[in-house]
Symmetry: D2
Subunit: 151 residues, 4 copies
């Protein structure tokens, strides 16, 4: 079906360090747990808060960025898409919905430089970082059209 939009945008904090895996074909994947929360006043005027936990799966060059710079407690912005996988456990089919940050339009922006986990260094990073899933392709003006005035 042409003409779909499947876009998720999150700003939140990581509940733990990213888990990094490498597939058999050598592609890197980062698995994050990201919390968003909202607060409101209930009918009794009490402040309520709910936290939502998201599983974010990052592929490709952005996984490297996550590995290098994202830590437990890091705040980040991600744009990806919803994907629901099915898997089986004890003969029961189960479903997991993830935010997949991969391919066209994917974005990851590190929103702070703190390492969060207290202990270990991030190994050379921790600064503000941002990236796109753009294996050599790239951003708006990479095509050299910007100097042209069509109108």
């Amino acid at each position: 079906m042409a003409g779909s939009l499947n876009s998720v945008q999150l700003i939140g904090h990581l509940g733990r360090d990213p888990e990094i895996r490498t597939t058999q074909s050598g592609n890197k994947v980062a698995n994050l747990r990201l919390a968003t929360s909202e607060s409101w006043k209930d009918k009794a005027g009490e402040r309520q808060e709910r936290t939502e936990w998201h599983t974010v799966v990052i592929w490709g060059p952005l996984a490297d960025v996550a590995e290098k710079y994202a830590r437990k407690g890091s705040r980040l912005y991600v744009r990806g898409q919803l994907r629901t996988r099915s898997w089986e456990k004890d003969g029961v089919e189960r479903y997991t919905t993830e935010v997949v940050v991969q391919g066209y339009g994917a974005e990851l922006i590190l929103l702070d430089g703190r390492n969060g986990s207290g202990g270990g260094s991030t190994g050379g990073g921790g600064g503000r970082q941002a990236a796109r899933d753009a294996g050599g392709e790239g951003s708006g003006s990479s095509d050299g059209w910007d100097d042209e005035i069509p109108f």
Copy 2:
């Protein structure tokens, strides 16, 4: 945690008519199944397509809009937020992630006027429809500030 963003935007078609329920306290809820899909060429140059099915849960006035105007096959735009519910079945905990279209920032836009379900009319509508979850509140200029020139 202050300062979160949890936003999902979808444009797709409904796999079936909305299911409408009313809670014990009289609130209306619409449950939709919405498909998005993407296509690409694989390494062999073959056209591939994957469809993703989303559960969209709409509360409040927007549920009325869905009930009146959305049908199997309808194309629509929604903006909502991700929410994962847990429930138990056969003693096993399970999780379901839904796109909840409710509260601040929620949007629903009907993108076509077809009824989709073949026979019956939608009962007075079917045209282009859009709405927000704005119980009488409303859009940007409802506060009458627009005539003022602050700068």
Copy 3:
């Protein structure tokens, strides 16, 4: 500056047919005028409506899609970025802000098949169309990672 987001999303109708130009280096550009509008009730309970007109500039393969399928009256979804150009007229510097649909993350979805302008044919199109600014690159799964199970 790393870590920026500059994203505009519009759903609206075209006020006229796209204007198509080709730069000296052969790149195609489509210039659109797109209307969005909002309505609300003012303090007197009167229904008010305001229409906002946007200049949308589309580069590259998406310009071809616009040329082929978009017409006066067409409804479409675009995602692009804000860009403000300065130019001079009669010795006075002026600024124009446009929504540039180009490069990473750009999207264009035709939301209906109507030609709108009554008269001329679209020349073979008019159906539902969607595209990305992806010169051969492409969508999420074009990298063949989808069959891998990293976790």
Copy 4:
């Protein structure tokens, strides 16, 4: 026209402190200059960067948040809508396009706690702050529906 979307999302830094005004009717307005930028490598392999400057106009309670917590150098996320105003100068009509953060769906998230302006405190804050344009209305669950299980 029903069924429009006019949404701008920015993450960037402020070029100067917010300018705060109050209209004759007592409404507060904050005027911000926010920079986004993107970088890429040109054909010669040289790193290029372009900065885009946005005028962001914030009304209502969010203007208070901006006044209290945003400073020159602050990084923030905003969601608003595009609006083009016309005005006259020296008998010439001119247009200014702004990102208006006001009304339904408007969002402002302060992404850091620094005050930026060097000396003075922000007057009790400076930490992470976020808000919506929700004059007493509010977030997703303020309607008390969350305890109900419709399906």
